[in-house]
Each structure stands twice: as C-alpha cells, then as structure tokens.
Amino acid sequence: MSALLEVRDVTMRFGGLVAVSDLTLAVTPGHAHGIIGPNGAGKTTAFNIITGIYTPTAGEVLFRGGSITGHRPSAIARGGIARTFQNIRLFRDLTVLDNVRIAHDTRARYSWAGAMVQLPSARRAETESIEQCTDLLEKFGLGDAVYERAGDLPYGSQRRLEIARAMALQPSLLLLDEPAAGMNSAETLKLVEFLGWLRDHFSVTMLLIEHHMQLVMTFCDRITVLDFGKTIAEGTADEVRNDPKVIEAYLGQENDHE
C-alpha cells in the first residue's frame, strides 16, 4: 500500500539552529502513527512543516503521492490534512458551533457577492452547515454546549472540541499534537478509546505526537522516534521499545509519566 503521507529527508534550519535534520517518515493509510521523542526533538516542528506553516530548508513532503512542500497551510488543510495544536488553539471568544463551522466552511461554495445579497444557494448552504456541524458536535458529546463560548469550556471538552473542529474538514489525515497532555491515567485510557472510535467511525489516518508511552504503545501501529531533530528509530511498538538507541535516548531516563 502506498503511503498516504511521506516525508523525505526534510531538514529545517532556523538561522543557525537545526530543528529537524533528514527527517524521513511514511504513514500508511488507516494506520495510527506515533511520533515520540524528548522535548525539543523537533516533533512539533515536523507537524508545522507537514501542515505548511514552515517551508523546509531541504527535502519534500508528499501527500497522496503529490508534493505539498511549501504549500500554504489553508490549501493543505483543504486538501485533507487537519491538525490540533499542542497549546489548544480554539477561537476562544466564539461559540463552540462557530468554531466547527469555520472548519466546515471550507466545503461551502457560495461567493461573497452571493452572501451579501442572500442568494438562496447561500442561505441553504448556511442552514446545512449549521445542521451538519451540530450533528458532528453531538457525535463528539458536545451537543449540549453548542452555543457556549469556546473559551469557557472545561479543558477536556476544549480538547475534544479542537478535534471535532479538525474533523469538520473531513480530512484523510489527522495530526494530533499531544492529545493526552495534562491527563491522568484514567483519562488517558478514555482517550485511547476515543481515538479508536475516531479512527473507525471516520476512517481517518492519524499521526500523533505524544509523551504518554501507554497511549503510544497500545494505540499506534507504527512509531517514529526523534531525538535532536533526527530519526533514531522506526517500527512497531515492540521494535521501538526494545531498540537500544531509543532506550538510551528516551525511555531509559527517569521520565514523565504523568
């Protein structure tokens, strides 16, 4: 099966600092692919490169076989790659519904002129968007909070909302940046269930950055390990767990389990 996402020898330099070096990654369709590594290893930078926020200094990124290197983030999002952020980036002053509608809007076709004169096609698109987004939110268990201000939601709900919003793009690939951040073991278990449901219900391929070993080892089909911007290992959970380089760089240290 050809890879859904391929990162080939990507290097990212910020002035003198090399954040990522010769990064190579291939995500199989339908898989949950994990990226782990110590803080500062370049994981979020990799996400930012894939989603077009940064243009890599060298290398290329291929999605469904076509190059997306250096494309604009909004084009990449519309092309089928959605993401969440390490420090939740919701539109805090807007309602929960509007947050999702903004992502859903990528599907609307009406023009600004049509909007300004309220053409029937525009009006129809709007009511459809409200319906579909409300449905989506209900699937995510946020149906009761639809008109609340996003910034007022409890932390766990905010994370779920961010994922719901990303899913409104109907992506083929979902990038999750530390979805379990700030969660205890019980919450993490629930999250694993949730991610499984996501994958099955929406048939979406996932690429996750995580620090929670439990989550990554049980949920991910393949794992890539980064350290100091370079790939130091890649394989299944068992392969990675027993790789001496990984043990030395990461798992061996008395590390964060929170």
Binding site: T44, N48, I53, F85
Partner: protein
C-alpha cells in the same frame, strides 16, 4: 555645488531635530511595544513651554533648554502614569487609541488656548560665517551640536549604565525582568522622562531655528519624526537616528526639485514604500512567534 552643500547642512539640522524626537518614539516602543502617538504633541507643547518661559523670564539659552527639558520630562511621565500605566496589560489597540486620544487632547487644548501661531522671542543671536562657499550660522552649529551631544549621551547611558541595561532588558522580556528585582515601573517612567526630555530639547531647538510656533506642529513636525522612527525600525535607537537623517535629507532635497506642497506626499509615500519592502523598517527585526 555650494547650493548642494548648503542644503546638506539644512538637512543635517532638520535631521538632528527629528532624531531627538524620533528617539522618544523608539525608546518607548522598545520598552513597552506601544506607539506613543502623544509624543509629537509633547514636542509641540515643549516649544510653547519655552515661549511662555521666555515671556515671563528671559533667560539665556542653556537655562531655557534645561528648564524646558525638565518640564517636558515631567509631562511625559505624567501621561504615562495617568493614561498608559493602567492599560499596560490591555490589548494593544487600547493603548494606541489612548495615545492618539492624549495627543489630540494636548493638541486641541493648545489650539484652543492659542488659536494663532506665536512668534518666539529671540533666544540666541546667531553669527554667520562663510566657510568654503557655504553660509554657516552659529545657530545651525548649536542645533546640530546639542542634538548630537544629547544622542551620544543617550547612547552612553543605554549601553554603559545599569538603568540603560535595565531598559534594554525590559525591551527584550517584560515578564521575567521584574522577577529579577528590576523596578519596572521606575525604569519605564525613566524611559518616558528621557524620551520626553529629548523631545523638549527638540522643541527649544526647533523654535530657535523656525521661530513661529503653532499647535499643529505636533502633527506637522512630530509625526514626521514618527515616520523617521518607523523608517529606521521602531524600537531601535540607532534606527531612529538613521531614519531621522534620511528623512531630513529627503524633505530638504524634495523641496529643491518639487513644489513644497509635495513634501508630505513624498515623505509618506517613502514610508509606505519602505514598509512594503522592509516591513519592520530599515534596521528593525520581526518578533518571532512560537507556533
């Protein structure tokens, strides 16, 4: 050629005055990341301070300079304390609007009290000499000399004293610096005081060179200095000086080829063009945003 040299001296004179005002804008932006729109009008008011002072008590030039610088510094600190400090953690837009509002209040209060321009009593009896085909007035030398002297003093202050270091630290990081025991409020007040004092000096010098003062000087002259600061890269002290002399040269030489009504057009178009190609000014650098 002589004409060119003559104009060059005018450009340096104008640039020096702009530099003194521009420094006030840049220093405040560097420390607080806010555009002190009121600064141009503070400069304008300082020339009125000078005017009033001389009306009441004719003092020699240096005394007038010191008194006006002091008075302007107090005004600058007062504005900061009353209008800006309460908004220090408010969204940036609020601070800009407040600054704009303060400037307009100052400008129109002055305009209401003095609807017509005033003529400055003479502070200084200039002596003119001929040097290699150019006419030099001691007033010009004085203006340029005082300005450059103050700039050098400021540079020394910023680079070599503890207070200057504190200012630079706050400009880099406003959150953790107070945690290291730096009295942020005092340093910020000091920044405003120095910036305003320099503006005050500019007011005295400007009034000496162009003895008719009016309440609209804040917009006409002060804002040009703001343009200079932005061209150089606002927040950057060296940039302010560079921008000021560039602007002085552009203004003086524009009027030699085009009618004077084109002056503002050229100045603001230059600003726009520079901002298009160098969005942060000639010497400015963008703030890095973490994603």
């Amino acid at each position: 050629m002589d004409y060119f040299a003559q104009q060059a001296i005018n450009a340096v004179q104008l640039g020096s005055i702009y530099a003194l005002i521009a420094l006030g804008y840049s220093m405040v932006y560097g420390v607080l990341v806010m555009i002190n729109f009121a600064h141009g009008d503070v400069f304008m008011v300082s020339s009125f301070f000078c005017f009033l002072l001389l009306l009441v008590l004719p003092v020699p030039f240096v005394v007038a300079l010191i008194i006006v610088m002091l008075a302007t510094a107090i005004l600058g600190v007062a504005i900061e304390r009353l209008a800006y400090r309460p908004l220090r953690n408010a969204p940036r837009v609020s601070a800009i609007i407040t600054a704009l509002g303060c400037g307009l209040v100052i400008q129109n209060t002055t305009l209401s009290l003095s609807p017509y321009s005033q003529r400055m009593p003479e502070l200084f009896k200039p002596v003119t000499r001929q040097f290699a085909g150019v006419t030099l007035s001691s007033l010009q030398i004085l203006i340029i000399g005082v300005s450059v002297g103050l700039m050098i003093a400021l540079d020394f202050f910023i680079r070599k004293t503890r207070y200057g270091m504190a200012m630079r630290a706050i400009a880099q990081d406003r959150i953790s610096v107070p945690l290291m025991g730096v009295p942020v409020n005092q340093i910020i007040a000091m920044t405003f005081a120095i910036g305003a004092a320099l503006g005050g000096a500019a007011g005295v010098l400007y009034a000496s060179a162009y003895p008719v003062i009016s309440a609209t000087m804040g917009v006409l002259v002060g804002w040009k200095a703001f343009v200079a600061a932005v061209i150089g890269g606002i927040g950057n002290v060296r940039g302010a000086v560079l921008g000021a002399y560039v602007l002085g040269a552009v203004e003086v030489f524009t009027v030699t080829v085009l009618p004077s009504t084109y002056r503002d057009l050229v100045v603001y178009s230059l600003l726009l063009v520079i901002l298009i190609f160098k969005p942060y000014g000639l010497l400015g650098r963008p703030a890095v945003q973490k994603v």
